[in-house]
Symmetry: C2
Subunit: 149 residues, 2 copies
DNA sequence: CAACAGTTTAGAATTACTCTAATGTACTGC
DNA sequence: GCAGTACATTAGAGTAATTCTAAACTGTTG
């Protein structure tokens, strides 16, 4: 594979991903700026990802885009409000933003910080108390904390 | 009730709580210092409590003891390591330290920050994937996030 | 009660994140 | 195409929670 063709095929697949990101942004009523497209292209490529603001910032800059950390935070929160991401808190240090917005739970490797999804349709939780009056459930999170043996 | 007798009875019940805290510390191999006893007396009075470092700091100083914030943090972590407390992370802002160290889950009121315990013996979680090889479960947390309706 | 290990503390440092206010850019209507 | 405007980005300052440092203090042991 020549350098040129590699570059071309990379550009081609990028173009499709960028296009998809752009459409997601429009559908969410967010202006498709250069920065939001760059971040969206990394986040909305079909994989289930769990990113930290810092990690995503490093990643987007590594990919050649010039996006400030403030914009990464702004964008992660806007995406979350738009329902394109979900915020997951597993440790006191930092929030993780999750590209899987369906009902699911997590396996958390405390030592590496890795998060893995567990589809919620397979999981039944029984014996929880009745929802207190005047309150409603926003979400139920199950976190299985794992340790390497 | 006279001022004097109120003071006496308060001192008497305090003495019992202080004594219990002191024994807990010795059993855990922690030197029973003035600061650790003051914090222990607040934490180990039999109630199930969920405190933040800042809140406990305010509380212990309100009770007349002179304990620095650094010591509150040190002590909360030492108590946690000793199994006298457990750390609960429900929001990105701050850690909560839980005096209930038995197996249990939480109801979390997102708006007020309140945490309520749900005994784990009543709760069955089915359909979780097998524990990955090379890993073992350290703990399973269920957090029911509630919103006022 | 001396000696030492363990503890406390003020204040500086770090980390994750938010805010401010100035500059830049995407959309709308012409 | 080209304002005009509302929205977006950003550097850098600010904040909140927590940790670190290193000097002073205290509980325990012999
Ligand atoms: Mn947030
Ligand atoms: Mn901790
Ligand atoms: Zn997930
Ligand atoms: Zn609890």
């Amino acid at each position: 594979m020549s350098k040129a063709s590699a570059k071309t095929s990379k550009s081609a697949s990028n173009a499709a991903i960028v296009q998809a990101a752009l459409e997601k942004l429009r559908a969410a009523g967010l202006r498709p700026t250069k920065q939001r497209i760059a971040l969206g292209a990394l986040l909305f490529d079909g994989r289930d990802r769990h990113v930290t603001a810092e990690a995503l910032h490093d990643e987007v800059r590594g990919a050649g885009a010039d996006v400030s950390l403030a914009t990464v935070y702004n964008t992660l929160h806007q995406f979350t409000e738009a329902g394109l991401l979900r915020e997951v808190v597993v440790n006191a240090g930092a929030s993780h933003f999750d590209t899987n917005v369906g009902a699911h739970h997590h396996l958390y490797y405390a030592d590496s910080g890795e998060l893995h999804d567990v589809d919620a349709t397979d999981v039944r939780i029984e014996g929880l108390p009745a929802v207190p009056r005047g309150a409603e459930i926003e979400r139920v999170d199950v976190i299985v904390r794992l340790r390497r043996r």
